[in-house]
């Protein structure tokens, strides 16, 4: 499930030199969680789609869910309200430091909507609703079309506009190494 993107290479390089911690238990504390307990807790989604549940949705479906559960805060068409930042641009021409502009993977959008939205009842969306609202938000940002179906297979393949525009602060830097004066990643 390793992401193939080059930009991750440097970050993964941080992990070189980790010695194996695979030994027997020392303290004998804790209990083994059941498979069901792990499944229930393990809701996070990786960039390659690992962890996505079955389900599907389009922007057209998502517009309905959005109007019911999202528009009160995020405004019609994701334009935002006085209190809340909008959802557009999620992937504008040049990344700016605002909500979502720097999201490199569509799975990140799905995962955040699924775990943290709606704000007052987070985690209440069904998988279909999460796929649909994700599709709608990506549609507002002109990343997918109104009828593109998002599901566990298609979602990780959605290419965010700035997928390749991310760089490590100092590509060769590893934790513990001295950094260039004035540039501290």
């Amino acid at each position: 499930m390793r992401c193939p993107e080059l930009l991750l290479t440097a970050a993964l390089g941080l992990c070189a030199g980790v010695t194996a911690l695979a030994q027997g238990p020392t303290f004998g504390l804790g209990r083994t969680p059941s498979a069901a307990e792990v499944r229930a807790a393990d809701t996070a989604v990786a960039p390659d789609g690992t962890g996505l549940p079955p389900g599907r949705g389009t922007a057209k479906d998502g517009a309905v869910v959005y109007a019911q559960k999202c528009a009160a805060c995020h405004g019609p068409n994701g334009k935002g309200t006085a209190l809340h930042r909008g959802l557009v641009p999620l992937g504008n021409a040049k990344p700016v430091k605002i909500q979502g502009s720097l999201v490199p993977y569509a799975t990140t959008v799905w995962d955040f909507i699924n775990r943290a939205m709606p704000w007052t009842t987070p985690g209440s969306l069904t998988p279909d609703e999460a796929y649909a609202v994700t599709a709608y938000v990506l549609y507002l940002n002109e990343i997918v079309t109104e009828t593109d179906v998002l599901d566990p297979t298609s979602l990780p393949k959605v290419r965010m506009p700035h997928r390749d525009d991310f760089i490590p602060s100092q590509p060769d830097w590893k934790p513990g190494a001295r950094r260039q004066f004035g540039n501290y990643p």
């Binding site: 020392t26 999201v103 993977y105 995962d111």
Partner: protein
């Protein structure tokens, strides 16, 4: 009552509210948890509070009060001494809808994923592991942005997103070893137990180096706003990694690019590209007294004091200038100097009553040096306003002392 079993008796002894006859006259303590018998101290005698004359030593914010999230409440650095931040004024920057009220009896930490033995720990079990206490700062990646404005001129409102505590808990390496991490693993994803389940990816190397699963802060249970009953402390790294209300560690082989690490906490480079994985904070220092908004009572002796810290480990030296950076002299460091901890510096100063610009410069054990904003801008080929929205800004903070003793922000 003689027939009560042991567990009934324990319940009897801990369920204070049901014991009206026994604790007649008792009231809820100031901490709101247990009713105490009448001979127990109540209110401020049970848990003390600062003097009413120190009521201005509180967290403050620059944000509009109506914003429901991402509001930073900042530590009053100008009013504090030594290196420890009192838990009640530790800075806050939450991304959650309300602070969860977690019952430690039911709280669990699950460690799973690429491990030989997934394990779930109770709080009681976590406290049975070998414990360590370490003094570490936590600093928000957005701290110290050189924004200007009427509500942004004090050391608290510019630099108050850093705090330093003694954290006690179990090293994450101990828990990971207990679970048997598989050789292909290279990252962990830590998750909090609040309603929207904040997640953050951390390289395994850091997780097993010095990352701490903390249940105590400054000698008492971690405060609810700081993650009670359990939080991660990732020493020297931006505090967005320090997951609160920690209840899950997923051992994986790739970063998960969660919203708060790849979205609104990624940074922009000067060329418009996104910067990822800015973990370790740079060397930084700031004079906390005198600082913006204060007024020196008059010429003569006025001690200069402040804090220095670095993601690089130990602060090696702090230099202070009273002439706007033309010349520097070494300040005295309060001992002991600790890794990834606030370091208190002091500098004796006799003010001659003329206008002066005072500033400090941190050098850490790696020889990394805190730059001025002009130096940082030149290196990054940026204008100064780039830092208004950039994270990890660690430029030197100048304060101007006017002839009338008033101190103002002299950042360009």
């Amino acid at each position: 009552m003689g027939s009560h079993s042991g567990s009934d008796r324990r319940r009897f002894l801990t369920s204070g509210g049901a014991l009206a006859g026994f604790v007649m006259g008792a009231v809820k303590s100031v901490r709101g948890q247990t009713a105490a018998p009448p001979y127990e101290p109540q209110g401020l005698l049970a848990y003390g509070q600062p003097s009413k004359f120190a009521s201005t030593v509180v967290r403050r914010t620059t944000a509009r009060p109506s914003a429901i999230t991402d509001t930073a409440l900042m530590t009053p650095l100008q009013d504090l001494d030594g290196i420890i931040t009192p838990s009640g004024v530790h800075f806050l920057m939450d991304h959650t809808n309300g602070i969860p009220d977690v019952d430690p009896q039911t709280h669990r930490l699950m460690v799973h994923g690429m491990v030989d033995r997934p394990l779930t720990f109770t709080m009681e079990e976590l406290k049975r592991f070998p414990s360590v206490s370490r003094i570490h700062f936590l600093e928000c990646n957005a701290n110290s942005r050189p924004l200007r404005g009427p509500n942004r001129e004090s050391v608290q409102l510019i630099h108050g997103r850093t705090s330093c505590s003694e954290w006690t808990g179990v090293l994450l390496s101990v828990l990971l070893k207990e679970c048997g991490v598989q050789t292909k693993a290279s990252w962990i994803v830590a998750e909090g137990g609040e309603s929207n389940k904040y997640t953050m990816s951390i390289p395994l190397a850091k997780a097993i180096d010095d990352t701490l699963v903390a249940y105590a802060q400054n000698g008492e249970p971690v405060r609810p706003h700081q993650g009670y009953p359990l939080r991660l402390v990732v020493p020297g790294w931006e505090a967005i990694r320090a997951v609160k209300w920690l209840n899950r560690i997923h051992v994986v082989d790739t970063p998960y690019m969660a919203w708060h690490e790849s979205g609104n906490n990624a940074d922009t480079n000067t060329d418009g590209k996104g910067l990822w994985f800015r973990f370790e904070l740079g060397p930084k220092s700031v004079i906390t007294r005198p600082s913006g908004g204060m007024r020196l009572p008059g010429p003569g002796f006025n001690e200069i004091t402040g804090l220095a810290w670095t993601g690089g480990g130990l602060v090696r030296r702090v230099d202070v200038s009273t002439d706007g950076g033309k010349t520097y002299q070494e300040a005295q460091l309060q001992q002991p100097v600790l890794r990834h901890a606030h370091t208190r510096f002091r500098f004796p100063w006799r003010w001659n009553g003329e206008e002066a610009v005072i500033q400090s410069r941190c050098t850490d054990e790696r020889g990394e040096v805190q730059p001025t904003i002009e130096e940082a801008a030149k290196i990054l080929n940026a204008t100064i306003d780039y830092f208004y929205q950039a994270d990890h800004f660690n430029g030197i903070q100048p304060w101007r002392v006017a002839r009338d003793g008033s101190v103002t922000n002299a950042m360009p």
